[in-house]
């Protein structure tokens, strides 16, 4: 936690508070030894969210990919027209 306080340039209570929120959300895990608390990322909940969003993401991604291709074609046509 000391390392985080230095890295993030916020106070130790501030770091504690953020870590508590992340821990309650299941996004970090804590391991205690005699002197220190070690925090590590727990990526599983993020992977769950990503899996849940995946169907819609793919749908929109594919749709916007087609729009992107169409915009490219239209711009090429415009350029060709200018050259004529």
């Amino acid at each position: 936690m000391g390392e985080l306080t230095e890295l993030l340039d916020i106070t130790q209570p501030g770091v504690s508070k953020h870590l508590r929120v992340l821990r309650e959300a299941g996004l970090v895990r804590v391991r205690k030894d005699a002197q220190r608390r070690w925090y590590e990322l727990n990526p599983e909940p993020l992977a769950e969210i990503e899996a849940w969003l995946q169907p819609y993401r793919r749908l929109i991604e594919a749709r916007y990919e087609r729009l992107d291709q169409l915009l490219n074609e239209l711009q090429h046509e415009e350029n060709d027209d200018e050259q004529d």
Partner: protein, 155 residues
């Protein structure tokens, strides 16, 4: 890495997506409001999209039908405001009448590129979540097709 930014907060009625396009805003606006152009990108790759009606002006109606071997799916709505900066319209799948969402499409141009942001607000969290899961089958198929295209272009 995904090209789109997708936000759906827990317990919220909203889905927000955004993506940057390498084209000026006027052209993106045209692709969004010209029926002949919308027919080319809006529908799924596995379906054929018919633009039955589309009047991109305040109070104008739109209705699209998507057809594939299994049947047809119709969508409709009303435009509330239309300008090159912002389009506000409603969206409803005719298979679930009464479940209407309101979408705001915002177009921002920067150095010749345009960021399209779409915010869709549903009537309930359930409706919002239903929409998020509705792309399941189609979305998966689409992505495999896209992957195939990508792989072919790399050969």
């Amino acid at each position: 890495m995904s090209k789109i930014n997708l936000v759906a907060e827990p317990g919220s009625y909203e889905i927000r997506t955004s993506r940057e396009f390498n084209a000026p805003r006027a052209l993106v606006f045209k692709a969004l409001t010209d029926p002949a152009l919308v027919a080319k990108w809006w529908g799924l790759k596995s379906t054929k999209t018919e633009i039955v009606q589309m009047e991109a002006k305040p109070g104008g109606l739109w209705r699209y039908i998507e057809r594939d071997d299994n049947g047809e799916y119709a969508f409709r709505g009303v435009y509330h405001s239309v300008s090159p900066e912002q389009i506000v319209y409603t969206f409803e799948f005719e298979g679930m009448p009464g479940h209407v969402c309101m979408s705001t499409t915002t177009l921002e141009e920067n150095n010749g590129k345009t960021t399209l942001t779409e915010s869709s607000v549903f009537q309930s969290v359930e409706d919002r979540d239903g929409m998020l899961q509705s792309g399941m089958e189609e979305g998966a198929t689409e992505s495999w097709d896209s992957l195939e295209e990508l792989l072919q272009s790399m050969q």
